[in-house]
Symmetry: C2
Amino acid sequence: MTDPQRGRVSRRTLLMGGAGLAGVGIGAAAVGVAGQVSTPADAPGTGLVPFYGRRQAGVATAPQSHVQHIGLDLVDPGDVPTLQGVLNLWTQDASRLTQAGPSLSDTEPELARTASHLTVTVGVGDRVFRAPSLTALRPSWLKPLPPFSIDRLDPRWGQTDLLVSIGSDDPVTLAHATRMLTASVRRSVRVRWVQRGFRNSPGMASGTMRNLFGQVDGTVQPPSDGFDSLVWNDGREQSWLADGTSLVLRRIAMNMDTWEALDRHGRELSVGRTLDTGAPLTGTAEFDEPDFTASRGGITVIPESSHIARAHRRSEREQILRRAYNYDDPPEPGSADTSNSGLLFAAYQRDPVEQYLPIQARLAEHDDLNVWTTPIGSAVYAILPGATASRPLGTSLFEAAGGRSGGPRQK
Amino acid sequence: MTDPQRGRVSRRTLLMGGAGLAGVGIGAAAVGVAGQVSTPADAPGTGLVPFYGRRQAGVATAPQSHVQHIGLDLVDPGDVPTLQGVLNLWTQDASRLTQAGPSLSDTEPELARTASHLTVTVGVGDRVFRAPSLTALRPSWLKPLPPFSIDRLDPRWGQTDLLVSIGSDDPVTLAHATRMLTASVRRSVRVRWVQRGFRNSPGMASGTMRNLFGQVDGTVQPPSDGFDSLVWNDGREQSWLADGTSLVLRRIAMNMDTWEALDRHGRELSVGRTLDTGAPLTGTAEFDEPDFTASRGGITVIPESSHIARAHRRSEREQILRRAYNYDDPPEPGSADTSNSGLLFAAYQRDPVEQYLPIQARLAEHDDLNVWTTPIGSAVYAILPGATASRPLGTSLFEAAGGRSGGPRQK
């Protein structure tokens, strides 16, 4: 069981990902991994991640095998009571589903019997703050990213009013939760896109995840001792957002055909890490600190143009929580593409302008990997503070707007 | 480890599905389930299903969590040497990938390190037999199903020349195997569709799978003692097909909105089973024999128009191996649908005309469930006999056609 209220998540917990939950299985005892405890998979209601808490689950929670990021638009973006009703309903349903119980008006309660580390994480986009009562409450960073020369953005994967990210180790649980959380609010919101991602199944691979280029992906994460201030909002700018965070969600297409035409050495130089272990080219193990000054025959071992050299932080603030997933959708009908693959890159940080943008601007300027990767979707969300039974998602926002905290208008 | 060469698979093995493999996990000992033995998940190359054998794996193998049925068309359907080259390459690559090794020219060998019960199962469609040397070798049943009044078939999910069904408990393994098996033959074949299905993750739910209507789905299976003669081809009509089988793959859309408008009692009457346990309405447990004559107040307890009453076999031959998966794709862009869900219904049997068609004709004539379900895709394949290192997939077919068994033309 992972505790989302635990602000400090050890490096190991984060990096272990689903593998941190490997101790599941008949006869397997509960296994403690730094920062989390997993329960045996055959226990009733197996794999429960608390929903209620100061902070939402699904951010610092060890990544599950499957995720669906669902982008939704309000039918009437100015209708704040309806927004409040939607968030209230999601709170009630998610608090039940994540605990392996049926949602309020669950139509297939049998599919709600397992949670498999189900988490539901809710965010709001900038358009929501166009409502007069909310205008002054928009965090300054909640706006579209500036355009980058490498972008080939498809509006199909663009900014939406709301985001629900649903994660689980079980695809049936995920499908059911998706159905319950979208069908219940269909009169108030429209699903604009669903982005599905996956990682290895629990216990099937250890350590940092690999993307579909075969690279170890997500080695660099905030350190335990700076995690809270790097990831969670402190309420300094907008007090209602304390214990929330921000999400930058980028859909990055990866061209398998051209990547596979590159030899192994060329691939390793473009990333700056070995494919085998993910070690920097100057080291022998994944978590070795890269030495960007080391040279051989007058040439730096890790090319200055490589991904890790360009992504490496220039200041302590340039740190983000990476929680990426692979996607591999069928090629569009009639397309000659052999694959439709890539990465759902998700970066969580206190302030994306301060923390994420400098990294992204540098990568857009140059990153050897840009030859094979193309950003095709982009959106930024404020991830709301956590909920309790008496304070549903968004309560602090609506209180700040002068609304009532109880009895939101139901749809 | 499941042995695909084992012709007799116990009812329990089949019905347990992925749950039969639940004994995986750190510290879990190998667990024997009737007919199969699973290996601990943390062993290197975890979860290996033999590829070589008299019969292909992926039919009688306990269903994995994820499947991709990939329909492909030959660029030149009359080019038998190319077909032979494709099957030879698939044999070589699948024999490696399923054993947690890289494919022949694997471009991301790191993604091949786990197999997670990977199986690769290959079938051929009727058009392949239009080649003059193969015409006489077509099994008589290998042809499109007759049209049914309930069908709303979309050619997008129609018959293809070739089928590769890839199953695994790990979505990353599945994506990698899909990439390797399709990219390597891209000059000879074109992917026409990919149909992705899922069930519960290993260990997450026990017993027969549930579909997204919440119903227990697939209770009735061939008995152990009749399994071989019901499922595997005996070579009587086409000797080259001995130890092969047939697959009828139907894509069945399930209308969640209208189904969810029906009350629980109405749902149970339409199926003839309880939603809770899947027991027939005349019984208390899933595998109780339904009593179609039992009545209460002059009305049969299981309606004659219910799914199980209509599907129930009228003769011993009307038995098929059901190996269905759920699908839940994002609604089409711009669509007002709230879900795009259904069932990838897969029926394996010695002879679909004799075994599957009578059941299907009866269901098409009337099945209460037809109100909420719509067949939108249909295809029939001959699943080839198994391969060995010296006899790649299709060898018996090409031998019967008078071709050489060795040295097929490579692309």
